[in-house]
Symmetry: C2
Subunit: 121 residues, 2 copies
DNA sequence: CCAATATATTCATGATATTGAATATAATAT
DNA sequence: ATATTATATTCAATATCATGAATATATTGG
């Protein structure tokens, strides 16, 4: 019997492969680790991850187009946050399978200049 | 302060991007849905998913090389199973984010010829 | 050994992803 | 208006992925 010939009794669902495509990249995973602590602007990620701004912007665009993160402008800064915190369940369950320690290639010594990081300026 | 300069108090871990790369493909996700019910041989997937044998074999190789599935020969047949059932937690949490109904493109009308599917032959 | 069955690999081509470099845009301050 | 700051986009070169076609391997049974 063909599954398409009948009204299904249970609704099975499969994930959208696009989610995994967006997650299949070390820089984008690093970005999401920053966003685990809440929203962050690009300069914040620049300071914490050490990637160049335009590179981060490209990777943020991939995550944005995949519907994983959203952005919000506040003056000069654009703050990013995850659309659905359940994304961290995906990351955490995947980390259980084969984890890698966070050996940041691009650890930076810069400090973030954004207003959130410098409230008294 | 650089994270690499100190002994970390907590061990953070990030998932291996290779896992997501392997999952970022509809045929491979369909294969894993078949394996949700337990081990299955290639002809079983051929019958249930309608993909050609050599195509399935290629996709199985990707999942195998990613360490997601393992194989076991029994006579003519090679049975595949997931290495770690936690992979389904990854799939399920991702499906919660953006689910798609199982509209199988390649639903086949073939029946599987393997001994497990035909115990009395 | 030969034939049949189940599965795997290789090859070639087109499509897509990666990433550095350069440039563009948008908001603010002067 | 102009300069500055934060961020985004475009372009081009390279690398990787997707996939059909053909072929190879391994097991079993004569």
């Amino acid at each position: 019997m063909n599954i398409l010939d009948q009204t299904p009794k249970i609704i099975k669902s499969i994930p959208n492969p696009g989610i995994f495509k967006a997650l299949a990249h070390p820089a984008r995973l690093a970005i999401l680790e920053v966003l685990r602590d809440g929203e962050a602007c690009v300069c914040h990620m620049e300071a914490h991850l050490g990637y160049r701004q335009s590179y981060l912007s490209q990777q943020l665009a991939v995550l944005r187009e995949a519907g994983i993160i959203s952005d919000r402008r506040e003056g000069w800064n654009i703050y990013y946050q995850v659309v659905n915190p359940n994304i961290f369940k995906v990351l955490d369950s995947a980390a259980l399978l084969s984890c890698e320690s966070v050996a940041k290639k691009h650890q930076s010594s810069l400090s973030c200049p954004c207003p959130k990081c410098n409230p008294n300026k």
